[in-house]
């Protein structure tokens, strides 16, 4: 008789432990997690800043920061939008590549490259707090 109850008890314990494990791992993160993840994000932003001031992104020694100190006048919050220079509605990274090809006389970055996401992260961070305005010229 007790064996049956023991069996049930074991199952219940196992289920409880399993449920408890699932409960702990879904939809829960600590303050420490947030800090750590923010640091990871900031490291990418820092890489973006490094690229922003670098003379090596294009082929003529000009850096993005020369015309856009602190990323000013890049308006990342307005994308996607109709971009006159490309003749169609595009995303921020398309315009980043336009700048690389044109004023910087260089080669475009792969759209999914680490460099591209870093530059976007840097620009967005410099623009933190500004209301999004997609489509704004």
């Amino acid at each position: 008789m007790w064996k049956k109850y023991a069996g049930i008890a074991v199952v219940v314990v196992i289920l409880t432990v399993a449920a408890a494990s699932v409960w702990v791992h879904t939809d829960e993160f600590t303050g420490e997690d947030l800090q750590r993840w923010n640091k990871e994000y900031q490291s990418v932003v820092a890489y973006g800043r490094e690229l922003w001031v670098s003379a090596e992104l294009g082929n003529n020694g000009v850096s993005c920061a020369q015309c856009h100190p602190n990323g000013a006048n890049t308006h990342p919050e307005t994308y996607p939008k109709f971009q006159q220079q490309l003749g169609k509605v595009v995303a921020l990274r398309d315009m980043i590549n336009w700048c690389l090809r044109n004023p910087l006389e260089g080669d475009p970055l792969e759209l999914d490259s680490a460099e591209m996401i870093a530059i976007e992260a840097y620009l967005m961070t410099e623009r933190k707090g500004v209301a999004i305005a997609p489509g704004k010229h």
Binding site: F82, Q84, Q85, L86, G87, K88, V89, R101, N102
Partner: protein
């Protein structure tokens, strides 16, 4: 040569069937509605009157030159292959005749934009010494006020006494006719706006990519999300012609700054002297911004309107691309002129890329104007 004749016959045939921007059909694929001024609405009778005036050679001193002399229907409304046009007694001017096709979408007329509208533009060739050569417009008025067909037509179209017709009505009719000559619906339009992926060849698709990206064409020869005029209606110095007279610019510029010409005088000056012609828009507005600057023409139907540039100096599309590829000089390594527009720079295109770009531009010919071989929609 055979191709040219085939094109000519087809164009003649197509155009003979009537204006394509017929009311109710909507604008051609790839183009917005034609801008029509409030004071010059379109009617079939006005258009027919304009057509007649456009072709009337009596409005010249020799009785041999009409608008159509330099803007021939069969030649896409140009006088291809002439580099610069020939007026009375075969006198030549300094500039290549622009096409009337899609001129209705331009915000100014002439290579230097000295005319604000189609109506105004029509006034000037009549009185230019190397075009129709008339001293003033009176001979034209004498004819339209006495020729019974014209008298009846002006009465019907404008509700005025034939005797009272003025150049205002004459130019309005001509402009109305010109507004019917709008053509979109090219293989590019079908590819880009109808998503017909078979409309362009692989090479032309590569050419389109170059047009937008490495070629840097799209900023002046505008393509947009839902329409493409292929012009920005602005003025740019791209280094054609002016490169050869760089040393003369101070003298020529000073002459204009000090002489203070009226627009009529400018019209005579720029067509009368090749060096003066190179000043471009500067002759009109006297701004440093515009030295050697000429209006961006549309690239629609460009394959039909050789030779190219304001002075007709570039014979083929391939040589045009080479000029841009060299950064605004016809021969690589030539000195760039000091006033070169900020959009022009060497492009580093390969030979293959140049071919691709030319192939793309050939896809800008409207279906209605295509030679028989290939894909076209024949309208009856």
């Amino acid at each position: 040569m055979k191709n040219v004749l085939a094109v000519a016959f087809l164009i003649l045939g197509m155009l003979a069937t009537g204006p394509l921007a017929a009311a109710g059909d909507g604008p051609p694929l790839g183009l917005p509605p034609v801008p029509i001024p409030d004071d010059n609405p379109m009617t079939p009778e006005k258009i027919a009157l304009g057509d007649k005036l456009f072709h009337d050679t009596r409005f010249s001193t020799t009785g041999e030159v009409s608008c159509a002399t330099c803007h021939e229907k069969e030649k896409a409304f140009t006088d291809s292959p002439l580099k610069t046009s020939e007026g009375i007694d075969k006198l030549t001017g300094t500039r290549n005749a622009p096409t009337v096709l899609n001129a209705a979408y331009m915000t100014s007329q002439f290579w230097d934009g000295r005319s604000p509208s189609l109506e105004d533009q029509a006034l000037h060739p009549f009185t230019n010494p190397v075009e129709m050569g008339l001293k003033n417009h009176q001979p034209i008025l004498d004819i339209v006020r006495s020729d019974p067909e014209y008298v009846a037509a002006f009465e019907q179209v404008f509700g005025i006494e034939g005797r009272e017709a003025t150049m205002d009505e004459v130019t309005k009719a001509i402009a109305a006719f010109e507004r019917t000559q709008v053509y979109g619906n090219s293989p590019f339009d079908r590819y880009y706006y109808l998503n017909d992926t078979r409309a362009l060849t692989e090479q032309q698709v590569r050419g389109l990519d170059i047009f937008i990206n490495q070629g840097r064409c799209v900023s002046c020869h505008v393509i947009e999300q839902t329409q493409a005029l292929f012009t920005d209606n602005r003025f740019h110095n791209i280094g054609v012609g002016i490169n050869d007279i760089q040393g003369d610019i101070p003298e020529l510029a000073h002459a204009f700054l000090e002489a203070d010409y009226t627009l009529e005088e400018v019209d005579v000056q720029v067509l009368g002297d090749a060096r003066t012609s190179e000043l471009g828009r500067f002759a009109v507005v006297r701004a440093f911004n515009d030295i050697g600057a000429f209006k961006t023409p549309t690239l629609r139907n460009i394959d039909l309107t050789a030779p190219y540039m304001h002075d007709g100096s570039i014979a083929t599309l391939r040589e045009v691309v080479e000029h841009y590829n060299n950064g605004g000089v016809t021969n690589e390594g030539d000195p760039v002129n000091d006033f070169l527009g900020g959009g022009i720079r060497p492009l580093d295109l390969s030979e293959e890329q140049i071919d691709d770009l030319v192939a793309f531009m050939e896809a800008l010919t409207s279906d209605e104007l295509q030679p028989p071989a290939g894909n076209q929609e024949v309208t009856q």
